[in-house]
Symmetry: C2
Subunit: 558 residues, 2 copies
């Protein structure tokens, strides 16, 4: 045991707590001896089978158990899947957080919303290097769908680790900030022990398009539009907003912004100088009535078909300020994130039904991904030429494709690790291995509850969602066990009761019949009686309806 | 009124009851005077927000109201979205059904499953013409992802109607049956009053690939595989199964088939001569143990990630006969139907995790669509050159794109109708108009119930699925209104009760407090009391948990 720890002391531990085998909740632990640094703390959006869950965060037990060792959190960029779990971490452990200005401003919003105070937020710029425990940590300019996204390197006693963060290689980024290929090349030149790289688009051949192409496509659409333009996109895609605002202004339009998160980001980005907006070009939402249609460019949320967001409300004709008209041109400058296809489709259909001209990704060039495709991933691998490689940020299918590419580029198969969350990878200067597993997994956030909804509750919600609930209420004299009221049957989500009187009547008869048998047997064990009721009623209802509602017998003794 | 009916007598009515503004449940009514013919009777699969619904069929009220006029059902092909609602129609109205051999064989299965007897099923071949009432109806060879898919024309007193059915223009169909361009051209030449055409891929530029390309890609994969091959595809894609079987046999493999629907289709298709299988090439599933891995090609269901289907079970390691091994090559020769992306992805991930080599659409050429892309749709429009055009089979966004194309090709805008289900289009030999609407919509099938689950039940299921249910049980003395038992609180799908004792305890206290106030006011109106309980408990639970469970107060008087 002594020896084990002694050995371990000279090793770098890399422990992904999220982002492997999934899209989202990215979080990785780097540990050397008694020093831990956390890279990103993201959330994931719930899957369809996580009924009623609002969001999912990584299980942070390992960090809570090692809280004294944590020196810092470093952040690659300000997307929710990289910062959305930070409030939950900082609520438990107060530790300094490093990130670029925009990232920290977005973090600050979330911390305020979640009532987390007193966090030390330390701004850095790409090119900066900081110290945290034994680590020297550097920020490298990246390019992605939010400004100031960074790659990160860790100089450790056993060698350098490079984590790309989310990236693509945009040759014509509209903010002029190119991914710092030189720095990646320099690191590669000097020798990299371990590389971790974004696998989101590892299945996509070729190169990802440039944000500049989108800017041109949007400008073209604005030129062609005869009436109002309403554009929805990701709030955090500041470059895209910038280009739309530029084009709008150039073409004689005033900009109005609808949707809280978009106003928020535009406010923050303007204040921090990520967005340049000429004075007088943004107008108050109330002012739009003072302008003619062809003088307006409306920016709004709802590019994912989110029920409560701007564009969805417009599509449903329930927006407070905007009624869609046939002369409107609507730009949906986004792709549906997997799982949102249907809701985005509904939005498009409804807008078309209102007569508007709708321009969306499938029929135009007004969106490109923020993630590198295969050729860019290969270029990055060739620049860094790491000894060891862990593909990150992706489902297993994407990690596998990324690993395949790395192998084709000459990295030894046993130096490539397709990992799972909770895996502990140990590295010395010339060896690397998966050695063990720490506790990891999903923690569900539902309303104010964090982790209080588990598999049993989810399973019940699933059954309720499919078949509803049938409640059987019975009052029994506790002296003699005689039924003095009931059985009464109440159902929800099962059948429309007014049309099913006969069914309810016969259900009561079935329960009564079962109860008679029980009485004859002189049964007094309530849990036994309940299961007899469940059985009798369940069988009957399945025969009659082909459905298996949750049956809840409730027996009251008086 | 008299005049109206008189006029109407000389008009052709076209009434889509399904398939407009949606993918699925295709069904169209053609009526002239007292003669009705129904084209297709399909089902749709439920959307995410149709909790617990098994399938959706068109509202057929119009047909039930006009049952005496119905002369025939004609079917384009045997896919569920074209024949799946037929049992429900035939249960109410016995009417002869025309279709090609394979279509009718698949219909027969469904009718048997749904206990519908005594239907007259009349086989036709492409090229045949039948009479039904005043209509002469012809079947035109099409090409699609199931054999013997047909386009249909109706010769009516006011002119010819052409309905393409589902189609693509496959220049190298593997069964050698080309879409009968000559017939479409001939009809176009003679003059077509109305064309209705498949819009599924109206958003996709270019041409759809040929099934031959898929056949070559599959053969290549079979050649490269070192161990077993397991191929999942749509059961009904007989051509693809044929090619896989050919290639497998040629390359020295025996074929084993897993999955009820696939065995079914292979049985039927072989019997009807749609599938040619050399004797001895298909082996019993039990026999696979007698062959080496590289001698086996396993065909299975589950290409959509359906929980209970073959491939999903293999991926979850719960298949009775097959355990996946790293030497296996798995071909998923299908694309995920919208809504199934996540479940297909889960299957792929799990198979990769088991070490198998998985070949799927995104990274290979082993699937092509069965529906025409834009250039094919334009060709069809140019062949038919109809006076009037109704794009069908698609969401509004697809219908719109299809309509745009028709306009570009020179069809007058006011001769193109983007319709909704239930619209009544009336045509004379030189005019066409949307005149009114008949009852139409979705009928939900849930278990054995058809139409007994409506919006209220669905709304309840939704709330239950998100937040669960909290039941408050109270027994009251009916003489004096004094509470003699309770309040007891039972919850499901809300919180894990063992970890939430305090919450449950305080909930009871809150309800008691509310009840005390009621007693002071001497309130005896139960529905009032219930809403006081709902209000008090709801407010408390929302404060504590941020959730809004369904609260069901149940008061028993004894």
């Amino acid at each position: 045991m002594e020896v084990f720890f002694l050995l371990q002391k000279n090793k770098l531990l890399v422990i992904p707590l999220g982002g492997l085998g999934e899209i989202g909740k990215n979080m990785t632990v780097f540990q050397y001896g008694d020093d831990i640094v956390i890279l990103d703390a993201g959330l994931a959006f719930p899957e369809d089978d996580m009924f009623g869950i609002d969001l999912v965060i990584p299980d942070m037990s390992y960090l809570l158990d090692n809280r004294d060792k944590i020196r810092a959190v470093v952040l690659t960029h300000g997307h929710e899947d990289h910062i959305g779990a930070l409030s939950y971490l900082l609520r438990e452990i107060n530790v300094p957080v490093y990130g670029t200005k925009l990232t920290l401003a977005l973090v600050e919003c979330r911390l305020r919303e979640n009532n987390v105070a007193d966090t030390e937020l330390i701004p850095v710029e790409a090119g900066d290097e900081i110290n945290a425990g034994i680590f020297n940590i550097g920020f490298i300019q990246g390019s992605h769908s939010i400004p100031d996204a960074c790659g990160i390197y860790f100089k450790t006693p056993v060698g350098t680790v490079v984590h790309t963060g989310d990236f693509k290689i945009d040759q014509t980024p509209v903010d002029g900030k190119h991914l710092d290929i030189h720095k990646f090349a320099e690191l590669g030149d000097k020798g990299v022990l371990l590389m971790m790289s974004d696998s989101t688009n590892a299945e996509r051949p070729g190169y990802t398009g440039s944000e500049k192409d989108v800017a041109l496509a949007i400008e073209e659409e604005i030129k062609n539009a005869k009436g109002r333009i309403i554009m929805a996109t990701f709030s955090s895609n500041v470059s895209r907003l910038q280009e739309a605002i530029y084009s709008g202004c150039r073409l004689g339009r005033k900009i109005a912004v609808f949707g809280r998160s978009m106003s928020n980001v535009i406010g923050i980005a303007t204040e921090l100088d990520y967005l340049q907006i000429a004075e007088g070009s943004i107008i108050d939402t109330e002012e739009i009535k003072n302008y003619r249609d062809e003088q307006l460019l409306i920016l709004t949320t709802g590019s994912q078909g989110e029920t409560m967001a701007g564009l969805s409300r417009m599509a449903n004709n329930t927006h407070r300020n905007i009624s869609i008209k046939p002369s409107d041109t609507i730009l949906i400058a986004a792709n549906p994130i997997p799982g949102n296809e249907k809701s985005v489709s509904k939005t498009i259909n409804n807008l078309l039904l209102l007569g508007a001209d709708v321009i969306y990704e499938k029929i135009s060039g007004i969106h490109v991904s923020g993630h590198a495709s295969q050729e860019e991933l290969k270029l990055m691998l060739n620049l860094i030429r790491p000894k060891f490689f862990i593909p990150v940020h992706g489902e297993f299918r994407m990690l596998s494709q990324h690993a395949k590419m790395a192998e084709e580029l000459g990295i030894a198969k046993d130096h490539i690790f397709i990992g799972e969350n909770g895996n502990v990878f140990e590295f010395s200067s010339d060896s690397g291995a998966l050695t063990r597993k720490v506790k990891s997994g999903r923690v569900y956030v539902d309303g104010l509850g964090v982790g209080d909804v588990g598999n049993i509750v989810i399973r019940d919600r699933k059954q309720l969602s499919q078949e509803g609930v049938v409640i059987v209420v019975l009052t029994v004299d506790k002296e003699n066990g005689i039924i003095i009221s009931g059985p009464d049957i109440v159902s929800r989500g099962f059948v429309y009761v007014r049309d099913a009187e006969q069914l309810m009547y016969e259900s009561r008869a079935k329960v009564n019949l079962a109860l008679e048998k029980i009485t004859q047997k002189n049964m007094r064990d309530w849990s036994g009686i309940k299961s007899v009721i469940r059985e009798a009623l369940g069988t009957y209802l399945y025969e009659k309806t082909g459905r298996k509602p949750m049956i809840l017998p409730i027996v009251t003794e008086v």
